[in-house]
Amino acid sequence: MNPDRIKLIAVPVVLAALAAAPLALGTGYWLGLATTTLMFACLAQAWNLLGGYGGQFSYGHALFFGTGAYVTAVLQVRLGLDPWTGLIAGTIAGGAIGAFCGALSFRYGLKGSYFALVTLAFAEVFRILATSVPFTGGGAGILIPLKVSPANFQFADKAGFYYAMLILFAVSLIVTLAVERSRFGAYLVAVRENEAAAAALGIDIFRVKLGAITLSGALAALSGVFYAQFFLYLDPHIAYGSGVSVEALLAPIIGGIGTLFGPLIGAIVMRALGEVANVWTDGAPGLNLALFGLLLIIVLRFLPDGIVGLIGRLGRRHA
């Protein structure tokens, strides 16, 4: 069977498995962990679209995450809009910021580390702005009132949040699959591999990159919107801090960059490493995180192409 076919079957299977997961996870810690894992997987999926398929590494995906989160929160708190409208508005805002930041950087031909750093700088600018303007609540942050009701994107039990997040993640996964199978996807990969050659084959590099960053921004905003609704509190550091940007790129690299399931697998593996590190060090503060860092390096040492790369290699050996 060719790989394209396998993926078409694998996507519904994986989503079904994720939908069934709460049966095994119970309603407590593990379900909560699974929910945040999906949230970061969605963010990672967004990063992967731009970084993995398009080769444009961003160090500032917090920019989109934070924008999605702030837009819903502000609309809800200041204008009294409902969170579902906020979800759409946040996603659009994420895409718009992506387009804006992309238009500026790609228009001027920024590539590689230069692009990476400009995204980081944009995220910082937004962090400082969010600290300094009044309608975001400034440094004191913004608090979404607690009002449990599904119409209000606040679920009484954890499973509600889990399924809400699963739907958002499914969107990001299916968008990625669609991109992979489209002309746009082929162009995106070509731009990643060699811009000069891509241009000579009729590809408008600027437009392809712009499309990718817009889409990526919108998807990343999805996870930000979810964060806001799940935790109900935001401050500039939570939304635009560099920690979020690091999370966004860590998972795809561990999982397998430029692959469909890499971000999900990477996000799961990272949480798993974190848990292992906790257990082995008995939660000794600092030591557990240090061990997590060490495990990260060890994974890289033995899996240079990420976990999906390993699976691919094993698959080839069996074939």
Binding site: Y187, V189, E193, N194, A199, A200, L201, G202
Partner: protein, 248 residues
């Protein structure tokens, strides 16, 4: 079909192309030769829109194309290969060619099928699933050609696609290029392999230090002292003449 008029390109203090003019007739195979560093690749890059000319005009099929971007030039129907090959290294040969084929095929499956067709044309059918990164120099040159062909160009710019091939392989690729011309594509090529240039080209331009110093039929140029001195050298000129006398 293609008309280059008084085009110049300056890199800092260096005038790489200096008021060059040339014309390529529709349906022909034209050659551009000249010593290393004469500006041939630079001229190609300007035609293909990769580098903007400092001065001069370029028109294609009656329309100005200087000032257009690479991809716009490609959409007008000009394909090019790179002297220093530029494969999409992480992709397979099939996927490489499919990128070109997408210009006329929106659907992925169609593009992949078209890629297989083109590969057959350039003799890469057996290599379709090889990663481009593992191709040898010769393989990469063919891939360049295949990718450009897949965009179905009306004019094809070939920058030293034969360098690094042995005489037998050169013979094969000459056949391929003739086939391309016969299918209605105009070809402009630069090459240092005289055997190929002589047998393929109907009309040749000689570039030296950025200027066109001679133009005409191949047989005439071999005896042009300016060309011999700047480019061919006496020994090669002698060999070519001997060769053509031998053949006729």
């Amino acid at each position: 079909m293609l008309e280059v008029a008084n085009v110049s390109k300056r890199f800092g203090g260096l005038l790489a192309v200096d008021g060059a003019s040339l014309k390529v007739a529709e349906g022909s195979i034209a050659g551009l030769i000249g010593p290393n560093g004469a500006g041939k690749t630079t001229l190609f890059s300007m035609i293909a829109g990769a580098v903007p000319p400092t001065a001069g005009e370029i028109s294609f099929a009656g329309q100005r194309i200087d000032g257009l971007k690479s991809h716009e030039v490609c959409h007008r129907g000009i394909g090019r290969t790179f002297q220093i090959t530029q494969p999409f290294a992480g992709l397979s040969v099939r996927e490489n060619i499919a990128v070109g084929a997408h210009l006329h095929h929106r659907r992925r499956a169609d593009a992949l099928a078209a890629a297989a067709e083109v590969a057959k044309l350039v003799g890469m059918a057996g290599l379709l699933d090889r990663p481009a990164a593992s191709l040898t120099v010769a393989g990469r040159k063919r891939l360049e050609l295949a990718r450009a062909l897949a965009t179905r160009p009306r004019l094809l710019l070939l920058d030293e696609v034969m360098a690094g091939l042995n005489p037998t392989e050169i013979g094969e690729i000459i056949g391929v290029i003739r086939g391309i011309r016969d299918s209605g594509v105009t070809v402009l090529l630069t090459e240092h392999v005289m055997q190929a240039v002589m047998s393929l080209c109907e009309h040749i331009h000689v570039l030296n230090q950025g200027r066109v110093i001679a133009a005409g039929a191949p047989s005439l140029l071999v005896t042009d002292p300016k060309v011999v001195e700047a480019y061919l050298g006496r020994a090669a000129a002698g060999r070519i003449e001997a060769g053509s006398r031998h053949a006729s």
